[in-house]
């Protein structure tokens, strides 16, 4: 749940109502393990390696690429921002551990795909929930060259930095 600290870090800058809304949603996530759908979501993570060498054109001296694919299904209610953010940040942490454990040598081309049902729609204007909006704002502030900023979920993972142990 490391990722949650990053969300909490921006909350003090938000209004009390925004903070309350987020913590209320987060509380529902933590306390409702028995509620079907809210906490029983899964993600599958796979790492694929070509069976024969596959040099990448234009990458001098490249090693064979590694393809990491993650698939998930977030909670359906997009107004439950604490729940959805918690889920994507847990996935972000899991992805980081997963990739670090691969111990990839420097220079390895790494393809990472995150796909699935995010239960969020593409239009920025539809992100009218204060927590989602503030998180989106936070991400954009951090990485304002994001091309796909409309998905808070992909943005969260897009900021992933992974280091070897």
């Amino acid at each position: 749940m490391q990722g949650l600290s990053r969300v909490r870090a921006v909350l003090p800058e938000r209004s009390r109502a925004v903070q309350d809304a987020f913590h209320a949603s987060l509380s529902r996530y933590n306390k409702t393990a028995e509620v079907s759908g809210m906490t029983d979501r899964l993600a599958s993570l796979v790492a694929l390696r070509p069976s024969s060498p596959l040099p990448i054109a234009g990458v001098v001296g490249s090693l064979s690429p590694i393809f990491v694919v993650a698939n998930t299904h977030l909670y359906w209610d997009r107004t439950e921002s604490g729940v959805q953010l918690s889920q994507i940040m847990e996935l972000e942490d899991a992805l980081e551990r997963f990739i670090v454990d691969l111990s990839l040598p420097r220079g390895t081309p790494l393809f990472l795909s995150l796909c699935g049902d995010f239960n969020n729609v593409p239009e920025v204007s539809s992100v009218n929930h204060p927590i989602l909006a503030s998180y989106l704002e936070y991400i954009q502030w951090q990485r304002y060259s994001l091309r796909s900023c409309y998905s808070i979920l992909a943005c969260a993972v897009g900021n992933l930095r992974v280091y070897a142990k």
């Binding site: 234009g58 790494l110 280091y163």
Partner: protein, 136 residues
């Protein structure tokens, strides 16, 4: 957390469907209650780097005054760090009208638009699979 050697440095993800077709699908899930785009394929293609590479990139970014370069490029390796893979095509998704025709043929009844929804016909889910072809 100790960072002795960096492994990958992952770029911001792009929507593969947008890259291949210019926009997200009109819808990826359709029931009689909702019709919306909620399924995505995000991806990045990077090169595993080290902490040293990372520091160099950050330095270059600050000197050029653009934060974006801190995450994407590092000097001569810039062209190697991104774009070694791209989404070039996406499998076409049926339109509402195409779905309606299929479902009417399948059920041998007329379907009013508000009653148009999946699963049905050749679609076992209320979501449509999205399929993108990548080129290395």
């Amino acid at each position: 957390m100790q960072h002795s050697k960096a492994v990958p440095y992952i770029l911001p993800m792009r929507s593969a469907f947008v890259e291949a077709t210019g926009s997200e699908p009109a819808f990826t899930a359709i029931t009689t209650k909702k019709c919306e785009t909620i399924d995505y394929i995000w991806y990045s293609a990077s090169i595993v780097a080290t902490n040293d590479d990372d520091a160099g990139a950050a330095e270059q970014g600050s000197s050029s005054g653009t934060a974006s370069t801190t995450m994407s490029t590092s000097g001569s390796s810039a062209s190697q760090r991104q774009g070694w893979c791209r989404a070039i095509a996406a499998q076409a998704l049926p339109s509402r009208e195409e779905l309606r025709v299929e479902l009417e043929r399948d059920s041998d009844t007329t379907i009013d638009d508000p009653n148009l929804g999946l699963p049905g016909g050749s679609h076992p889910s209320d979501h449509l699979p999205i399929v993108v072809t990548f080129e290395l």
